[in-house]
Amino acid sequence: MSRAILQLRDVHKSFGEAHIIRGAQLELHTGERHAVIGPNGAGKSTLFHLISGQLQPSSGQILLGEEAIQGYSPQHINHLGLSRSFQITNIFPGLSVFENLRIAVMRKHGMQYHFWRSIQRYSEVRAQTEQLLEQVRLQDKQTVCAAELSYSEQRALEIGMTLACDPRVILLDEPMAGMSHEETDYALNLIREVTQGRSLLIVEHDMDVVFSLCDRISVLVYGEVIATGTPDQIRADRRVQEAYLGEEQCA
């Protein structure tokens, strides 16, 4: 089945005078892993903000399944099964790693207003948190304050928190930035594993990751998707080479 689970139809976003997203068109198929690449400042993160409800598009439509979600609140969009990570690490710095993940896990158990029972008694939450800790390889750090983690450990935590709510659609914004080779490999396998049966939209600068992980790639330049296709098609695309890959070779 390859119906689109997430669609952007002619989405525009301006900040005052600055027209950042200029009629972006994008289709994320159910069950695929889809990368968004593009030069710095192309608007990739802005696109994620628009999809996840942090920003509202100036015009255009964003469909999650059948539902137009533009203008919904972030938590509403999360409830519809879309979860995202942030390019700039966005965690609970003063809480322990375990607590960070547990708070992310708690949500799908619908216990945010429970005030009559100790959290220790929710054994399922505990078990899932521990499993997640193991998945992102932070079990040794579980009692450490999140602010004291190394940068790459914080990135791993960020991924863990994004996965915790069992989402249908996952948006990852440069999840591997700042990771070592070994950590990138591990994270790559982790992402591959946990996105089995889900749909993934990922922004990533590491081309090896993009080409080995993703089924399709979209190229965003100046707020417009100039090409979408399989890795081979994208590699062969002249406009992409000019706009993006070529630039990388120069750098």
Partner: protein, 425 residues
């Protein structure tokens, strides 16, 4: 933490036998300490745990007081709500007002939040004298405690035990709350409300509920005050009380659960003791606040934790010298400051200035049970000498403290915090 539990049990025991050993006049001071402790603890749910600094929390305390007084007058302590249960009405009043005010205030975060709470409290303060139905105008309203459950609540001792019961129960509930899912979310709210939204939480609703819960417990404290004083007037809504709870809480330490309780109890105690001795209590209070914020931002509770960590690591004996010199430093420096302030205050007071006769030496002032001549060098050298001695001992204390810290993996405030709030599994 076994030691903590033992200490708490001892404290509770001491509070239980207190009225037997205290003179009757002091029992009332103890009641005020208990009420202030609960108020600060309730405030800290919002401020320290939820990360929302309210500058108008006296409003909910006051509403709790008035609500309780109205209930006292209406029910005469009969029926479903005998006298001991009346603070429930204070809780209800605080909760409802907290819901309404919180709904507006939590629309914004940070400074804007604080300003809205301030504005709402000031609004109430200026409206209250005109709403004589609700707040009894300038004179306020009063009532009488009715007997219930075989007790007549005629003397301070019975009121003390009633207050103690409510305060202990409320603080225990507030602590239990921090262990529940919603309580854990409250910490996350402080840390990063933005991220919570993207994890699927309704942050505004959560903030409003935390606000209302905090206001509810403030309302209980207000209700207890109403039971104790049997009266209230609009002065309760004064900005001064809102500021006081902020100061007490921060002096005690916002990142430790019992910190505000400690801060409020101590400050109320000293406030009571000092009001007979000095006219400059507000000045001392402000000074203390500034010093705590500058030199130990984690408050008195942070200090206690710091020292108890050293005791656990090194044993009592090794810590005693450093503790002793620290105490001497604190003593000398406070003495110097108190000496200077009190001398100046006395010399510049209007009463004293009226005594002066031109071309005559200024008469002596009395301080610490002695007479001091403003013309004498010693009077002014005294605070300087005391301060100097204090600074010298401070140097020693610092060296001893650093030696204690030696070969220790850096235990900064962050590490402290993670121990307090981290998962204790």
């Amino acid at each position: 933490m076994k030691l903590t539990k033992i200490l708490l049990a001892v404290l509770l025991l001491a509070l239980l036998v207190l009225p037997a050993i205290l003179p009757a006049a002091m029992v009332n001071a103890a009641i005020q300490m208990l009420i202030a402790a609960l108020f600060a603890c309730a405030f800290n749910l919002l401020c320290g745990q939820g990360g929302m600094l309210s500058f108008g929390h006296a409003a909910y305390f006051g509403v709790g007081s008035f609500a309780t007084l109205h209930a006292m007058n209406a029910l005469n302590g009969e029926g479903l709500l005998p006298t001991p249960l009346l603070p429930l009405i204070g809780a209800l009043g605080g909760f409802i007002c907290g819901l309404c005010a919180g709904w507006f205030a939590t629309k914004r975060a940070g400074v804007y939040f604080s300003m809205i709470t301030l504005a709402l409290a000031e609004l109430l303060h200026s409206l209250a004298p005109h709403l004589s139905m609700l707040f009894g105008g300038e004179a306020g309203i009063s009532s009488m405690r009715s007997p219930a459950w075989g007790l007549d609540f005629g003397d301070a001792t019975q009121v003390y035990y009633l207050t103690l019961g409510w305060v202990v129960l409320s603080i225990a509930l507030l602590y239990a709350f921090t262990l529940t899912p919603m309580g854990r979310l409250t910490f996350a709210l402080r840390e990063n409300g933005h991220r919570l939204q993207f994890l699927g939480y309704n942050v505004h609703r959560l903030r409003v509920l935390v606000f209302a819960l905090s206001a509810m417990f403030a309302g209980i404290a207000g209700g207890l005050q109403a039971l104790n004083l049997e009266s209230a007037n609009y002065v309760l809504f004064d900005m001064r009380f809102s500021a006081e709870v902020v100061l007490n809480t921060y002096i005690g330490g916002v990142n430790v659960f019992l910190g505000p309780v400690l801060g409020a109890a101590l400050m109320t105690f000293f406030g009571n003791a000092a009001s007979d001795l000095t006219q400059s209590w507000l000045l001392y209070q402000g000074l203390l606040f500034v010093l705590v914020m500058m030199f130990m931002p984690s408050g008195l509770a942070g200090l206690v934790l710091c020292w108890s960590a050293q005791i656990r690591r090194r044993g009592w004996l090794a810590v005693i010298p450093a503790a002793l010199s620290a105490l001497i430093t604190a003593g000398l420096l406070s003495l110097a400051v108190v000496f200077a302030i009190e001398t100046l205050q006395r010399v510049f007071s209007q009463d004293y200035q009226a005594l002066l006769i031109a071309d005559q030496p200024w008469p002596a002032i009395s301080l610490f049970g002695r007479e001091w001549l403003p013309g004498a060098l010693l009077t002014w050298a005294m605070p300087l000498l005391l301060g100097l001695a204090g600074l010298l001992v401070l140097k020693l204390a610092r060296r001893q403290w650093l030696r204690l810290l030696d070969d220790e993996p850096a235990a900064g405030p962050v590490a402290l915090r993670s121990r307090v709030e981290g998962e204790q599994s």
